[in-house]
């Protein structure tokens, strides 16, 4: 990531003075088709809903009010905190957090193992771990559903072996969603950690060993602090997409594992569509992600200064 630092890095000035001409397509495309839409979405979250989708151009805080407050069935009771949507967000946050933790626990040893192979074997292992990342996410999620459903091969195998006497009932649970998220984003964790471990200087481990540090002490006190930027990058790359994930909760989960992605989608696709509310929920999701990214960026700058 350091290599991508803006401004610094390359000081070449061969095409000096052409920057704005060269960047015009980027500015126009991302500006018009991403920045403007996000600004419009922010505006929509403050408008009045039109039944059957769309909005009426009248300022309203109804969407945010509906998200946070419960005013009773007829809207005339004193406002109480509305837990429905906060619960969905909270579930998404801990599901994403848990998926991140799981990916870290499996991803670090894997990345370490791969990075400490000989050069030839390293590329082979790396290829093995990256191939699933290139396979369509929908296909991977459907495959997971096929594998773990009650009549699926996993249950059939466990029943046959006598380990269980009835299907696990895994599908449509939070656990299934967890498994799906973990499976979807595991390669995102392995790659940045691998890059960090590859740069790790083993002289540090030798120094620690000379000073009578055991294997695990070295891991805890020397290796982990050194490769920390890779660990954090991996965690961000898993946490952020997990938080807004749609496919895993939708295909593997049930009503009790509803997550943000499905909540937002429902507002635009379902019969009970409410565009301002969907826009508001998307704004809240984006704010959470931006906070996470800002904290990450600040920690990076602090590290760079230190």
């Amino acid at each position: 990531m350091a290599a991508m630092a803006p401004g610094g890095a390359s000081s070449s000035e061969i095409y000096k003075g052409n920057a704005s001409r060269l960047l015009l397509p980027t500015w126009v495309v991302i500006g018009v088709f991403l920045l403007v839409p996000v600004a419009l979405m922010a505006t929509y979250s403050f408008l009045t809903k039109e039944f059957r989708g769309g909005v009426i151009w009248e300022f309203s805080l109804a969407a945010y009010d509906q998200f946070f407050l419960n005013r009773g069935l007829f809207g005339d009771e004193p406002p109480r905190i509305e837990w429905t949507y906060i619960t969905i967000f909270w579930r998404s946050i801990w599901q994403a957090g848990l998926a991140t933790l799981l990916c870290l626990l499996i991803g670090f040893p894997t990345a370490w193992f791969i990075a400490t192979r000989e050069a030839r074997m390293r590329t082979v292992w790396l290829l093995i771990v990256t191939v699933p990342y290139w396979v369509n996410l929908l296909i991977r999620t459907v495959s997971m559903k096929f594998l773990i459903r009650d009549e699926g091969p996993l249950n059939a195998m466990l029943l046959w072996s006598g380990l269980i006497d009835q299907p696990l009932g895994l599908i449509n649970t939070n656990l299934a969603v967890q498994l799906g998220l973990f499976y979807s984003y595991l390669p995102f964790m392995v790659l940045p950690i691998y890059a960090a471990v590859e740069r790790y200087d083993f002289a540090l481990s030798e120094a620690a060993a000379d000073l009578y540090a055991g294997r695990w002490t070295t891991l805890r006190l020397v290796i982990l602090p050194v490769v920390k930027p890779g660990l954090i990058a991996g965690c961000i790359l898993v946490f952020v997409p997990s938080l807004g994930a749609f496919l895993a909760p939708d295909l593997l989960g049930g009503a009790k594992s509803f997550m943000i992605g499905s909540l937002i989608e429902e507002q635009f696709k379902g019969a009970a569509g409410n565009w301002p509310f969907g826009a508001a929920a998307a704004m809240i999701l984006m704010s959470i992600v931006m906070v996470v990214l800002l904290v990450y960026a600040r920690s990076q700058t602090r590290e760079a200064k230190a």
């Binding site: 920057a19 991302i30 991403l34 839409p37 929509y44 791969i114």
Partner: protein, 268 residues
């Protein structure tokens, strides 16, 4: 005295194997079951290519073929446009010295990576509806070009950074115009990066479900949205055959990009 191997940690190999099993088990199981002769997806009825025949000639085949065609056209065009835009941006970011707004531009290029996918999907739907674009291949294409730019940019910029500008300097000392230096010197040196950038953008476009599903409008399908629609009614054997075919395509692409990456490294 036996040297303590500092690179080895007990159990790490086992965890790596577990990781590989988790990553591959679902894909392998589906691939195996796609050759199942039975119409039931649960019972094994012997090996057959029946479902592959069904994919190409069965009652649902026109729908999936049209969807596959849409996916392919969109992925190729989105990949090409994103690569073109990203190459031009990479030249500005790495060969045009300092200029005002460079940091902001860098953030802008990476913005599609930072905004959660579902947010981009919602924002695009609202935008296209507001300006009166009805859904279709055109809106899908515009949305795809936008989020493919950073994916194309990453390998291209990485490659450009590893190519010193002395070659272009030399060309210009020999009276090449900046355009000639770019076209005849920099561009050929950049090719491995540009090709990986295109492949990545192509795959990312092909992979996308969520944004496409929001902006596509009624009646237009790409392969992922068509598969999603079918899976909602239950996993059928023909879906497994399609999945296995797509898995095969992905494996071919990774191997291809891996080989290109290796040849690119060998030359530098």
């Amino acid at each position: 005295m036996k040297q303590l191997d500092l690179r080895r940690f007990p159990g790490f190999f086992a965890i790596t194997l577990l990781c590989v099993v988790v990553l591959y088990a679902p894909l392998l199981v589906v691939s195996v079951y796609s050759f199942n002769a039975s119409t039931s997806i649960t019972n094994w009825g012997g090996v057959s290519l029946e479902w592959y025949v069904d994919v190409f000639t069965g009652p649902e085949s026109p729908k999936f073929q049209r969807a596959a065609m849409n996916s392919l056209i969109i992925a190729v065009l989105a990949g090409l446009c994103a690569t073109l835009i990203a190459t031009s941006a990479a030249v500005a970011m790495h060969r045009a010295g300092r200029f005002k707004g460079k940091t902001a531009t860098f953030a802008l290029i990476n913005l599609p990576l930072m905004v959660p996918e579902v947010v981009t999907a919602v924002a695009s739907l609202i935008f296209f509806t507001a300006i009166g674009f009805s859904g279709g291949v055109g809106t899908i294409l515009l949305a795809h070009i936008t989020f493919c730019i950073p994916f194309a940019y990453l390998p291209i910029a990485a490659r450009m950074q590893s190519v010193p500008d002395s070659y272009e300097q030399a060309a210009m000392d020999l009276y090449a115009t900046p355009w000639e230096a770019f076209r005849l010197v920099l561009l050929p040196l950049m090719m491995p990066g540009i090709f990986s950038g295109f492949l990545l953008a192509f795959i990312i476009s092909l992979d996308d479900f969520l944004i496409t599903n929001f902006v596509k409008g009624a009646g237009v399908e790409t392969l992922p949205t068509a598969i999603f629609g079918a899976v909602k009614q239950g996993i059928k054997p023909n879906i497994m055959a399609i999945s296995t075919l797509m898995l095969g395509v992905s494996v071919v692409f990774v191997t291809l990009s891996w080989l290109i990456g290796r040849s690119g490294q060998a030359k530098t």
